[in-house]
């Protein structure tokens, strides 16, 4: 099945949603929002993509590994940023004195906070989309095994 209205809407709305999600993520230390809200918005755009292309060609579908890698990458960024503090002889997840703090109010400021926000965003987007995928396809795949 191929729904042209849905696909045309998706072409406009999916990039706009992702841009808005990226804005929320990159401004997490400046304005309300942050990793959890921005990640949810980006995850919602993946769900939208999946709904639009669910019935068309198979190559358009996002694979299960994609959400898994988002999940793993987010966790690795978070823990990696924490371990940098230990490398510098400070506590786990130290920001001040390890990462460049920068000038408060600019995008490239607050050191670790921006990095960890992006990690959380990737992780939350992966989680939201993974839950959707499992609930959508998990049962169907189980039927195939009977």
């Amino acid at each position: 099945m191929h729904d042209m209205i849905l696909e045309m809407l998706g072409r406009v709305l999916i990039p706009a949603t992702q841009l808005f999600g990226a804005y929320i993520l990159f401004h997490g230390h400046l304005s309300p929002g942050g990793g959890f809200s921005g990640g949810t918005i980006i995850g919602a755009s993946f769900i939208f993509y999946s709904l639009v292309y669910r019935f068309s060609a198979k190559k358009h579908r996002l694979r299960h590994e994609t959400s898994l890698w988002f999940e793993i990458g987010g966790a690795l960024i978070y823990v990696g940023a924490g371990l940098v503090g230990i490398l510098f002889g400070r506590h786990f997840l130290t920001n001040q004195g390890v990462f460049p703090i920068g000038e408060p109010g600019r995008i490239w400021s607050s050191g670790m906070i921006l990095l960890v926000t992006l990690g959380i965003g990737a992780k939350v987007a992966g989680t939201v989309f993974k839950l959707f995928q499992e609930l959508l396809e998990g049962g169907a795949e189980q039927d195939g095994h009977h």
């Binding site: 997490g28 230390h29 400046l30 304005s31 309300p32 942050g34 990793g35 999940e71 987010g74 966790a75 978070y78 823990v79 924490g82 786990f92 997840l93 920001n95 001040q96 703090i101 920068g102 000038e103 408060p104 109010g105 400021s109 607050s110 050191g111 670790m112 906070i113 960890v116 926000t117 959380i120 992780k123 939350v124 989680t127 993974k130 839950l131 499992e134 609930l135 998990g138 049962g139 189980q142 095994h145 009977h146």
Partner: protein
Amino acid sequence: MRKTLTTAVLLGLLVLLTLMVVEMPLYGDPNAPAHQGIMQKYLDDSARDTGAINTIAAIIIDYRAYDTLGEATVLFVAVIAVTAALYGGYEHA
């Protein structure tokens, strides 16, 4: 056997969590740790300490970054739980 074990673990968790709630300071208690000046410290120093002008972000990802790591783990466990619930019956099916 499995049911008894599950009930025992859940009852143990109930006792632990109830004990923790009893230990918590009353709502609006002026002697609670949250009202001993930590609020003012966050408001005054967070921009200098962390470089973030959003104090909430400064608290959850800098001062309390370790708790947020636990929060991210909750998401991970949620995914595992859903996956296990959907695929769990394979061997017995």
